[in-house]
Symmetry: C2
Subunit: 354 residues, 2 copies
């Protein structure tokens, strides 16, 4: 049975990447050992690391004045690293669009002055509004895709200070113009690799003013200076992220992947909207293309829906524990066939239970 894994993260990785990784698991580049058993300072590893960075630069069109860092600690580590490196004695503005951007602001407030702006007209309806004069901030932070409610901001916040984005759940999933940002970060475990790695793309002129108490592993300038090898990096996650980058290239790059993502999500939203049995309560203009949340009209059927979906090879459809319901995460690695299998199951389940 083909299994389709809709987990919000750690999420499925591209089947081709996983097969290649399995095939060379014990013998990387004919060295007779695994890639996770070689030094990060050995020439084969350094070549791999540089290639991964270059491919990410190519895919996202990252300008030369931006550093690309491969760091420990996931996105939560960046919740601390961003203020530690950028906030100084100034203040920052956090745009709140859901659980993740809220949590980022709470962590940042440990380090200095944080103001917040709530973008939610409701949990499922976001409005960037007019942010007014934002020149006084060291940076403005936002999260373009919130996985819990399945909401997204597709427009860029118009700000007069460096824009910082948590792209954990949408990096490489849609096109972005990096030069519009001061800093982009992402935990790898949704669209870019396995858990334990964070990607950071940061304009170099923002570096060098870190709080003296910044832990070395979260110091951007140090990571930049040492090619992300001040300490032993998470070498296997970095390797797998590099394989994912190569795979995105073979798919035609971010534009092609993004088009496919939009098509997958549209297909599922359309099915949900057409059905009286299921519903999605997110406003059309901010429906995430990565995480499609939906509810059964009769929530008494939730457990049964999940059990039967699992039995049909449709895995991890349970909504986030904070909101319940269902959630289908459709990251880059999810093929259209997975969406079709899900819709076929949902349709069958509906017919059996109306």
């Amino acid at each position: 049975m083909t299994v389709y894994n809709f987990c919000a993260g750690p999420a499925m990785l591209p089947a081709d990447v996983m097969t290649k990784a399995r095939n060379e698991f014990l013998n990387f580049q004919d060295l007779g050992v695994s890639v996770m058993e070689i030094s990060h300072r050995s020439s084969p590893y350094i070549a791999l690391a540089e290639e991964a960075e270059q491919n990410l630069r190519d895919l996202m069109g990252i300008p030369d004045d931006y550093a690309v860092l491969f760091m420990h600690g996931g996105a939560r580590g960046q919740f601390s690293a961003v203020p530690l490196n950028l906030l100084g004695e100034g203040k920052a503005l956090y745009l709140n669009s859901g659980q993740w951007s809220d949590a980022a602001g709470v962590e940042a407030a440990k380090y200095g002055t944080v103001e917040t702006r709530d973008l939610r007209r409701s949990a499922g309806d976001l409005d960037l509004g007019d942010l007014g004069d934002t020149r006084g901030y060291r940076y403005v932070h936002y999260c373009p895709n919130e996985t819990v409610n399945g909401t997204a901001l597709f427009d860029l916040p118009q700000v007069d200070s460096p824009l910082v984005a948590d792209m954990s759940s949408c990096i490489l999933g849609r096109e972005v113009e990096v030069s519009k940002f001061g800093l982009i970060y992402a935990g790898a475990q949704k669209n870019a690799g396995p858990a334990g790695l964070a990607l950071v793309i940061v304009r170099r002129d923002l570096l060098g003013q870190a709080d003296p108490k910044t832990p070395a592993i979260l110091d951007y300038a140090l990571a930049d200076k040492t090619d992300s090898m001040y300490n032993t990096p998470p070498t296997y996650p970095w390797y797998l992220a590099g394989e994912v980058f190569k795979w995105v290239k073979t798919q035609g790059g971010v534009a092609a992947v993004a088009e496919n993502n939009r098509a997958k999500a549209d297909r599922l939203y359309q099915f949900i909207d057409d059905s009286p049995f299921y519903r999605n309560e997110v406003a059309a203009h901010c429906r995430s293309e990565m995480n499609v949340t939906f509810q059964l009209q009769d929530t008494a059927l939730d457990a049964r829906f999940l059990r039967e979906a699992e039995a049909a090879g449709l895995m991890a459809l349970e909504g986030h524990r904070m909101v319940g319901g269902m959630r289908a995460s459709l990251y880059n690695a999810m093929p259209m066939a997975g969406v079709e299998a899900l819709i076929a199951f949902m349709s069958r389940f509906e017919q059996e239970h109306v």
Copy 2:
């Protein structure tokens, strides 16, 4: 050709562990997906995580009043986490026995008052001496195995305040009485798993006084309260560490592995001492059983030695870039056959070049 990998870290993992991991790489517990593609909050992953913790508790005899944490960031992350969590407004004593303990003290000094005591009579001769009255310190930090020079401290420092040990390069490699320590930490990538994971064993009464600016991912009390799942942990490294723990059990536990480690190291030191062609300059009482450093009398032959060793399947014997020479790391996963192959090669090389 059998390859023996003497890398100091990321180091080789047990062959049985790697084979099992490869075999279930694409299909963990018949779920149809990889263990790295499932949620850390799913029941199969939680069972795996709990089993790993229990096995580590069993192997090291960790008392119940100690928390066992699986954290991001490697040992360098702990260089910051230890003072952030334990130092407060007090002072700490760092015992300096080499590059790693030195670096830990330098990082700690960012957070408060750090005193240091140099234990080196020379790079290869350590002396704990009489540490005197150490009641005034929040903790005393040391590193029982230094990988760069291949030195070790086998006796415990006698101190009157909580003892903190960086066991990155010897955890599970020799027996320790955990109750003698306030805190033990280790980057996983030598004896316990792949890079990207840190193990922390900490007496719970030391927790709860962290600096308010401690990054959430480095907060011990938070990690303890959330079973190391405040954020997505490095799930694949944790899984592999769990497999390593099971493997150590099958070897007869830490005592049996330690005996084997001592036998491997003694064999190699004996060969070096008996040869006029090679030398090791570490004092006998502090020779590491994990990292055997050695030099060729004629350093002009170094490059050739390394090249021919590599060709003979003996990998990563180059000494640390700070000291040069050679280094054979003989962590738990290195079988005696690897040591024998190395000695056979060294003997052959000697005969060809005397």
